[in-house]
Symmetry: D2
Subunit: 333 residues, 4 copies
């Protein structure tokens, strides 16, 4: 559902190569009646269902539904979705357990009583809860890049809770496929900018999840930036702690994970290391003359930051190997 | 062999996901002793053999060797390679059956008597010969994009042999990973240029193969251009013929092919339709007021134009399904 | 007029540094009431008139008006513009002396009887007519790049009239600042495409002007492409003629010109040589084994292809030095 | 001197349009004997002196010399330069008054006793000292972007000295025109990376100048990043202080300056606002729930960060209007 957007198309691209998945329906409102190839020509030559509107779609035989609609859509129609369907939502509708926080940053929530059914789908951190759930709310792209390094460190008091600064840089697909002059090629080529006015919607999401996991009510500084590339987020995270302990702890914490990798030998990852993959790569810089560390975390915003993590969550729920359909190297160069 | 170059790394990237392939050796001269991850950080976290020099490498157990060295290297050492190894060469050393033609455009050939053992690896056109061969010379990237539409049309007299013009635009990876100020980011960003002075090495390659297949000695105009992207070739080919007949003939000729697709309904392909895939997509524009047709052919220069076609040729030789390890959609956006 | 578009803003940028120009009014319909800095933040800090609608603007004191509106707008309102104003139009409304040709490619013309008052503003070719005119219709960007090399050669029979092929590549600003999903950053980054289906509106413009100047009714093949940069057109033009004679003739024809330069010593120009300048640079490639020449012509589509040529025409009309306000080098890199 | 590098060419580009400047000599070692147009084709058609080696150049009639050589070159030859020449150095050789600090971060200094003759050429901060000096050491590009907002605030205790974080993003021209595989187009396109390992050479430069101006020995966190564009630096600076007071103070401090502009109305600048100009634009984001401010500072690294500031310093020394030759708008788009 939401097939004409970038996360919808990316979810489809990944699922088409997943050995255990069959695509039964593509749902879209503005694109209803079209073939998805008319919108995303890279699917040219592939046989796929014609896109239907939600009202016209046949949900009765579906086992799993990926919802890639804009904020505020799913919460209004969720009661019309059969209860036997496992619902994996990529929007923000059910990311906040606290409806007031949601209402402060988004429009008035369409179905507050349903929130409690959802589990936050940050796969490596909430794997156990995800396994037993039928309702998954996948994290925002910036929160994924920030929470994967920060949650383990804050949980175990390896970094201070004060003065955490997250300076994030994102490719433009993060803004979606929307009619907006700010998203034109000519407005972005050869430039970059900060945005969000110190209060981007992903800031309270990061703080809220840290609160839930660590029981610490902290305030972060978060500045998102747009860089002129399509895919990828690089978050530069400034914390206070011991370089050696932080590095060891993260290496140990993630040592069995397929999709979170800690760089070794003082190397740090760059965006091209992860484009097209479900990886989060993390490197740590030792600011030698101060007690500050700089953590570099990179993901592909459309994969680990959206559709890839959604499919990873499906694999967890269905007891498939977690890397099924997600096990590829980035194109490089 | 040639692991530190772009086609070497791309061949490795594809083979790592090929279910029937095990990587035994990585060979490189300048990179000998290194882990390939030091050069291509996207392989970070993968266990791979350390790169060895050709002299130090153990060739005795190899079944297939992909040679991705610069022009002139393989021909000098080919006699040292055990004869039981199937050799798939991505360089230009054995593309010309006529050694004089080679000598005119490259350095003096290192092993002229060996040329006759090689089959030109344009998979869809020479599939039968490839199947029975142990020595494959894979086509250049520009020739692949031009010959796939042109060879069937010229063979069957559907376009005139006179005044064929091929105007090709390539991403910068086509120039390889070389120390050359012309390849710096800052020299190419926001610009594009023509090059080759009317006599690029791929011009005689195209003419030579047309001669071999169709027995027609023709002269083309060929202008290659560099565009500021990493991957992809778009060739705009101007020929004279009947739009309707050309379209029908190509659709029919390639209708069973997995990797050559003719666009329908007047649509034409763009580079992002094929990046990261082994596809060649072809569209035809009807220049309504003249007898000229414009054929648009797009490939990923590193995949169908190099490493992907090399693996496709391996699949043909080994009697594997031809799309094994090559069956993915392009990232888009 | 048309201040919120790219050619409007570019005309303003150039005029702000023109020593003999004072900006009295900025006119725009959708942007009426705004400061232009809200749309183009590079003008931040500059005192400029608030944008007014055409109806609300005060035209009485204007000496010159630059009209940068979309096609079809100026022809409908031109009778409301005081007759003492010199009008320099950057749209297509008055480029065709033949109204039927216009009607075939655009919407029905809004004021056919006014067409005869306009002179086609290809500065170097029509300088004398421009000097005495109050109504200038500036050429399209592709025609500027193609006609500057072709007109002198066709006039003097130095190239054949048959089989002229123009393969043009343009930056994305050529498509304007429009709400169109095809113009999004993410749809163009890392890709390129041909468009126009063999019948782009600039094709009849090129043929029409060649007809007027040389009295030859010829048919060209013209394929425009979009490349992922902001500014610049590179046209690769295939003609038949003598390399030596063509080169000598063009060198001589343009030897006194400030803004048309013929490359020497076998070098050919690239787009970065002209970005931000009013130059047209032309180089010629000798296709040694055929009678075909390849002419490479590069311009900045927003400067020589639009606003720069418009200001050059103003300089001609006003008897200013032709390079006044236009005499800068391209940024490079 | 240093004509074949990017800052050399950029200095030349600016000086060619400076009404009071005549170019007498171009000096380069590796490029000696060449025309600069062979290296930078955007100068094509301009009459300029052939590049000479330092030994072969005639310095006797020079009034001003711009030195754009790599680090360590000027200090070794400075005694051979006639003492009547005003010397404006764009390298790092004379930026540190403390030679030990220099030796820690660069090679052993070639002429420590000469350091004291130099003034640090951050124009707006050291204007008075620059006016009376014959030896100017122009600041690094990152320090320019960081010091222009920070120095006034630290001088007057408007922000805390603790926990200052500077997260900078630079276009690739900042790395110069060097044979380095890391600078290839294909290694950077579609990606970005942090670098410098927490200890980039511009970190001590920033700390050293803050020490000199404010007499405060502080330690900053500084993380530089490379983004895939040619020109521009965006520094995101995290400090603690009062949003209202900081904004008012900076507006007042820079209100008469031509080249430092504070954004109003909560807007913040982006890189395209300054590309090709000598501007530093500064905007401030109010992080509402904390005592932290985020300062956004953007410059063109080759202009205000190098060649433009050098020419501004020449204007100061020569008592020319400070904006002479530097008064242009950025190209946008």
């Amino acid at each position: 559902m939401g097939a004409s957007g970038y996360t919808g198309a990316e979810t489809l691209r990944i699922l088409l190569k997943h050995p255990n998945v069959h695509i039964s329906e593509l749902i879209g409102e503005q694109s209803a009646g079209k073939n998805i190839q008319e919108i995303f020509s890279n699917f040219y030559g592939k046989e796929l269902p014609v896109i239907k509107s939600f009202e016209d779609s046949n949900l009765s035989d579906l086992e799993i539904m990926f919802s890639c609609t804009p904020s505020g859509v799913l919460s209004k129609i969720i009661n019309k979705i059969p209860k036997n369907i496992t619902l994996i939502d990529l929007s923000s509708d059910f990311r906040f357990q606290d409806v007031n926080l949601y209402n402060n940053y988004y429009n008035f929530h369409g179905n507050p009583s349903f929130i409690k059914n959802f589990v936050y789908g940050l796969s490596e951190i909430f794997r156990k809860k995800i396994k037993g759930s039928k309702f998954i709310s996948c994290p925002g792209c910036y929160p994924t890049s920030a929470l994967l390094p920060l949650v383990p460190l804050l949980e175990n008091n390896l970094v201070q809770t004060e003065d955490i600064i997250i300076d994030s840089k994102s490719g433009i697909t993060g803004a979606g496929r929307n009619m907006n002059l700010d998203l034109l090629f000519s407005e972005n080529f050869g430039s970059m900018k900060a945005y969000g006015n110190g209060n981007h919607r992903h800031k309270p999401e990061i703080e809220h999840i840290i609160d839930i996991v660590t029981n610490k009510k902290i305030k972060i500084s978060f500045t998102p930036h747009i860089i002129p590339i399509n895919r990828g987020i690089l978050s530069t995270i400034y914390v206070k702690g011991s370089y050696k302990k932080v590095l060891e702890y993260l290496e140990n914490y993630y040592k069995e994970e397929k999709f979170v990798k800690i760089n070794k030998n003082g190397t740090i990852p760059k965006i091209s290391d992860v484009v097209g993959t479900n990886l989060c790569r993390i490197g740590i810089i030792n600011n030698q003359e101060s007690d500050r560390l700089t953590i570099i975390s990179v993901i592909d915003n459309l994969v680990k930051g959206a559709s890839g993590q959604a499919v990873q969550n499906m694999n967890i729920i269905m007891n498939y190997p977690e890397e099924l359909g997600l096990d590829n190297h980035s194109l490089s160069p």
